[in-house]
Amino acid sequence: MESQIHKVHQQLVNKEITCTELVQQRLDLLKTNTHNTVNSLLDTLALELAKKVDDKISKGTSIGLLEGIPFGIKDVYMVQGTYTTASSDLLKNYKSAYTATAIQKLLDAGAIPLVKENCDSFGHGSSSENTIFGAVKNAINPELVGGGSSGGSAVNVAKDFTVFSIGGDTGGSVRQPAGYNNVYGLKPTYGRISRYGLMAYASSTDCVGPIAKSIEDIRIVLNIMSGKDVKDQTTYASTEITHDAILCSDTIKTVGYFKNFIESDAIDSQIKSDFLESIEKIKAKGIEVKALDFFESNTLVSTYYTLAMAETASNLSRLDGTNYGNRIESENLKETYAVTRSENFSEETKRRIVGGNQVLSQGFSDEIYLKGLALRDSISENFEKDFNEVDIILSPVTPNTPPKIGDSLKDPLAMYLSDAYTVGFSLGQLPTLTVPQGTATGLQITAAKNNDELVLKFANFLKDIL
């Protein structure tokens, strides 16, 4: 797929379409869509911004590459004056007081926000069914889930309702829905993009991630959003990834894959055979492929969820209805907190908060939380060792194809285990990209920390050979 950003940019510059027409068309598509991807439309703002772009073009002033490009935003990002609900009852009327750094950078570049997109409440889910706005329906087969937690964002891109969307990835929430809807989705290296203004789920793995239909669009949006931000002290300065830098993959000599992912009984037989076929095609191009040892899926999933639950229990403790949110009054302060949280959080969110508080409580913390942290370090050490031997790690995105709507919520443990192939890379804080090739739910390309460029480079290589 060619770059949609370059294509739309040329259409605007050539006056084949006005920005107002473009934005109105996309808003109409979003408004009438039956995939439940929209939490709120930003129509007034979008049309105001489109008019400004049209005024510039009619005056003969040149426009930047992202000026006038319509995009979507997962409903966990602050955009001043817009509703930011996290798909929850608690925040269904909450308005952002400020704008997230990543989104502000896109606004500064002239991109036009159209929509706050449906997702699992507070990012708690892998199917975008845990939402007050109705389950997101898959772009390819609407009887199936859209994936999660950034399901609305992936479906909007797949259906061309937005040119690109900004999701959030804590344990796979960009990469898995991208795979389920056959689009690209990147989880950059942790810290490459500021988290300021992204509603916190698990702060040590939360990443801002672009979803788009081409590698070039991922590159453009990644470059704009990256950079050090004093408002997020975990950010680091990064250099721009140029178009030319990712065209040639000559530097990639060795690719690894985790053999236990592929030998597992849990993997769908078609995904397994398609993955192994992709490996053969890579070998045929003269690249050495190594089968690597890795942690069992159960250990990865348990380590990730234990730490993520501990962090979300802490992060969501501020949501008590005192200063904002849907407060439900009761006889005293403590009762008001408890009733507000009990009535407004979903079952899945409550399960994670309670699990997190178990983990952090006295008697459990050494046995579970500190052990979880130690396991995470072992996982990171394993990655460091692997990247001394291979340039890239390739893996399937999911063990199975998307489930039917309604099936995931019945069995939370099965839902957690379905994240087996994505959570490890989150714990390692590594750059990982889903490409819509290789298996029914795509492939994940992972490189060492801060090597996002290599990931995009290998994606271009795979685009040509698969």
Partner: protein, 89 residues
């Protein structure tokens, strides 16, 4: 006073109970082997240089930001923001 606090109190969620699915995850952690004994000494923890801290200054919010913060407040009465009574008379 008992030192044991149940998860419903810890979580401020009425009737909350530990989940069987989540407990299964914890069992895996308890039984897993880890090579790293003390994670707090590990180089993988995110750390921040003292030279790299942001300035400790008060940044005034914009008028629009203040207006939205007040708009988000759940209850207002006679120009005051209403909160639950904390101190009993």
């Amino acid at each position: 006073m008992s030192k044991i606090m149940t998860v419903d109190i810890l979580s401020s969620i009425k009737g909350a109970k530990p989940s069987e699915a989540v407990n299964k995850l914890f069992e895996v952690i308890k039984n897993a082997n880890s090579n790293s004994e003390n994670s707090f000494n590990n180089i993988h923890n995110n750390s921040l240089s003292l030279e790299d801290l942001r300035e400790d200054v008060v940044i005034e919010s914009s008028a629009k930001e203040k207006e939205i913060i007040i708009e988000n407040f759940p209850e207002e009465k006679n120009g005051y923001l209403v909160v639950s009574k904390v101190i009993e008379a």
